[in-house]
Assembly symmetry: C2
Homo-oligomer: 316 residues x 2
DNA sequence: AGTTTATTCGCATAGTTATTCTAGTGACAA
DNA sequence: TTGTCACTAGAATAACTATGCGAATAAACT
């Protein structure tokens, strides 16, 4: 509620005029108004808030509609968001830009209510971080993938799910397991537990999913020491070109048979395909093969990407 | 002419949006755009300059039209500018505010060409300081009053005249004399010199004058050690209520006979009355008697004042 | 090509602005 | 009156932004 505003519009207009129009510094304005610079700073903020000062920026179209359209029609996506990035932006900067401008897209694409599965990944993290808090939804967020290692980082599904419900409200169902375990037996043991079974259940009913699409190169798994270069090479040999939630798939989008498959605790590719809305997030041209495969296999319904990736995907 | 702008509008829009709309800091924007913070600062400046960013402030009416009208009709002024000031603003702050918002009024009221006599004073200094440079006029500026003491300050007519032609162009005729000399003889000696006579000549033909109106209290002459309190008392006894260019006048606006009169080198009250446009500048309610008298005597054609003074003048 | 001139860049840092923190003020209840 | 709360102001200072400067690069000229 608008509490008693102690400053008159007149005063605000005077201060704002001196500052913005006449170009004086706050210190100088302060002298004329006979108050502290501190207060001028606050007056100016109030003036902006109250609409006495308007700052408008020519519409910046952060998304490349042409590429979005091409992606949708070419790969049968429901929707796509292609975020323009600075020329030299790669890696981190690209992910951040995609996160920043892509967040509204994700917010609009995810349902207001229902079950949402959330995977991990750097790109996804950048998006979730920037979802506007305040908006309230009745979501059931499900962790779609165990934790990558015991040292939980901000890009793990666990953290992202937590962050999501913190922003939008709702409940968060955690998967209190690692993403990779030593063998099938252990995996089955985990899956047999009541808690996991319950979460698994809900995951099958998910109305939507938000996942990152990983490639084999520059894999976050190597970075975090979960997989070795040799492991990657082996996966590549078995046809893998990409990964979602730790599930590796081949160029057709079919999950690869590999010694990892049965040791992974995360949403299965076949499950994912059945979720009505799956938003894949990725940035960087080097993800093209992975994303291409995921789209071919129908794993994704929507895509959030940067221009470089979009161009690479369409380049054939 | 718009030189080759090295930045694309697109880039500017992106940076400006991130900064102004999304509220990121320059450092954060810099990360996304992959350039230094320095450059973002420059990009934002360029965006403002190029009109990609607009900052507008609700019209602030710096002048009190009602009081201006009342002053004009009551005292027969040609025009008046009454500048609103902050409640607690007195003394210096009031003068500065009057100078700031009054400068456009003075610029509009003074002719584009012709001879302008300029007096000294703190209020006048604040005005002159803020006249927009760039505009070019063909003025002959005449120093209307000698220098108050050998230690020339920024409020002396000498400095103000200099500043005026520096801003607007034109020539400046200096009165290379003190404002007050020891006796009539010395005064006459100065006045007899060719240079002074020449300047005096032009002064008589002045098309306009810009002068401060001083009171007896808080007189700048005391401050600068030219007059003593005793001197002021004596002047008061001889009926003086105010002063313009060192010429003291009584409540009717008639120049006082005093021992100072013949020792003063500055435009004479009778001359001033004949100048078609005389702008008097004053700030502070305590100047009311002086300004009132000046107006009564027809010394001023226009007035630039603050609200406090205007109210005091109209209060009767 | 080899200079010269003009520009652009980012670092270091000066300068400006926002925020934290403490003290002061007034309203109101006891 | 006195205490408590709710709030506002400004001083100190942290945070942020703008600018002088030399290095690097590009453009123009000899």
């Amino acid at each position: 509620m608008p509490k008693t505003d102690p400053y008159s519009d007149e005063l605000l207009r005077m201060a704002a005029t001196l500052y913005h129009v006449d170009g004086l510094g706050q210190q100088e304005v302060a002298k004329l108004v006979r108050v502290s610079q501190t207060k001028i700073s606050r007056l100016l903020a109030a003036a902006l808030e109250r609409g006495i000062v308007h700052i408008t920026v020519d519409q910046y179209q952060a998304r490349n509609a042409r590429l979005e359209h091409d992606l949708c029609s070419r790969f049968g996506l429901e929707t796509a968001a292609v975020i323009k990035t600075a020329k030299q932006a790669g890696g981190d900067a690209a992910r951040q830009t995609v996160g920043h401008f892509g967040a509204p897209f994700v917010a609009a694409t995810l349902p207001k209510t229902g079950v949402v599965a959330v995977g991990g990944g750097r790109s996804v993290a950048e998006v979730v971080q920037r979802l506007r808090t305040g908006e309230s939804r009745r979501l059931t967020v499900v962790q779609a993938m165990g934790s990558i290692d015991s040292n939980i980082s901000a890009v793990d599904a666990l953290e992202l799910g937590r962050a999501l419900v913190k922003r939008w409200g709702g409940e968060f169902l955690t998967l209190s397991t690692p993403a990779f375990v030593s063998d099938k037996k252990t995996r089955d043991f985990f899956l047999a537990s009541d808690q996991i079974k319950f979460v698994w259940q809900r995951m099958r009913q998910a109305d939507a999913a938000l996942v990152g699409v990983g490639g084999l190169a520059s894999s976050v798994y190597i970075e975090r020491g979960v997989l070795s270069h040799a492991d990657i090479a082996q996966l590549r040999d078995s046809g893998a070109v990409g990964e979602i939630c730790g599930r590796f798939f081949d160029a057709a989008g079919k999950e690869c048979k590999s010694r990892w498959r049965d040791r992974t605790i995360s949403i299965e590719i076949e499950h994912l395909k059945k979720i009505p809305q799956v938003i894949g997030v990725a940035a960087g041209a080097d993800r093209a093969p992975a994303v291409m495969a995921a789209m071919r296999g129908g794993l994704l319904k929507s895509l959030l990407a940067d221009e470089a990736l979009a161009v690479a995907l369409l380049a054939n």
